[in-house]
Point group: D3
Chain length 78, copies 6
């Protein structure tokens, strides 16, 4: 009966994408559910996964909105 | 001072609706607040209710996005 | 497939109790699940309820830990 | 490594704004991160801040959607 | 910069354990972080994982505390 | 009516403390509530703050439980 909540920024993380794709979401759901089965023997059908996409201006890191922080530190999106 | 968070898929669950309606949201708020009053004596004005609607492609069940899982299992939305 | 999260302070709210009792928890679970069935036609077996009890020193209201706020305002627990 | 989640209604709270502005979001991020540094010595770069904006019809207070509750009580947005 | 929150009941799920073990927690953390790297190219060091253990009497399924629901349905813990 | 949730590891962050103290919690509550007043004009009495303390073995960073990650990277608690 686990619940896995995955919070990520609403942006693409591979070239040519500007958002998390439906295929990537399906892969996150499959992988998270499988992880709970492998580690804790939780049946796939008893796990819920919720993906929350957060606009980059709503995500803070280092005291700054994340895009400003990445620019300051020379980081790629991630 | 309770906080009740209700997470549901962003879809209609009655014929002819394709989303949770304002009336249904008001009924969830009223019912959840009344429940805390009935069971734990919490005054209505000290309870917050937050409804989070989640796109169906962001909700996983059985290792699949929920619409794929329902199709596989012959389940209705719910 | 809803998820209902109920956050309350870890304290009794009826005379003679110093905690939320197992019976009160069962009543919260029953009522919240029934609410989703009544309002959105969600089957009981597809709703998860999670109750989170929070120590009073970890709950803030009015800029103060909740027990200090209640004392300042002459409020009963709630 | 703290995580600070700030949930607010999706509306303006100063004259002429109908939403939380990017500058206000940046101020929330800066202030919350600084608070964790000041109180618990957490380095700025180890704190995440997530701002969640909630539509007013999805936020309940006093057993009512918040705009109905404010009207009933003669409260300003807040 | 993802955040993965894993909520599970506070109980053992393998013979002889009565709780989630430190090794199982480490495996959940490793697997969830790797998943975000594999699917969305998120560097390991930018992912936080938070495991929340919930007492069984605080977890509801099917309108009942989970242990009562499992007994009614003849389900194993999971 | 904002809700501010602050998640931190359950450990002391100043010499001689092995936990977040009641005074530190009160300072977090005061500061977070004041921040919402300063930035968004939210009255103190309409803000809830919830502090969640997470055991270090339940917090992951860099694919590892946080204490293992800090040791690997030569980081202080934070």
């Amino acid at each position: 009966m686990p619940i896995v909540t995955i919070q990520v920024t609403r942006e693409g993380t591979k070239p040519g994408n500007d958002a998390v794709t439906a295929d990537e979401k399906a892969a996150l759901i499959k992988g998270a559910s499988q992880l709970l089965l492998d580690v804790l023997n939780k049946p796939l059908e008893s796990t819920f996964v919720v993906i929350q996409e957060v606009n980059t201006e709503n995500w803070g890191w280092g005291g700054l909105p994340v895009e400003a922080y990445r620019k300051q530190r020379g980081l790629k999106p991630g």
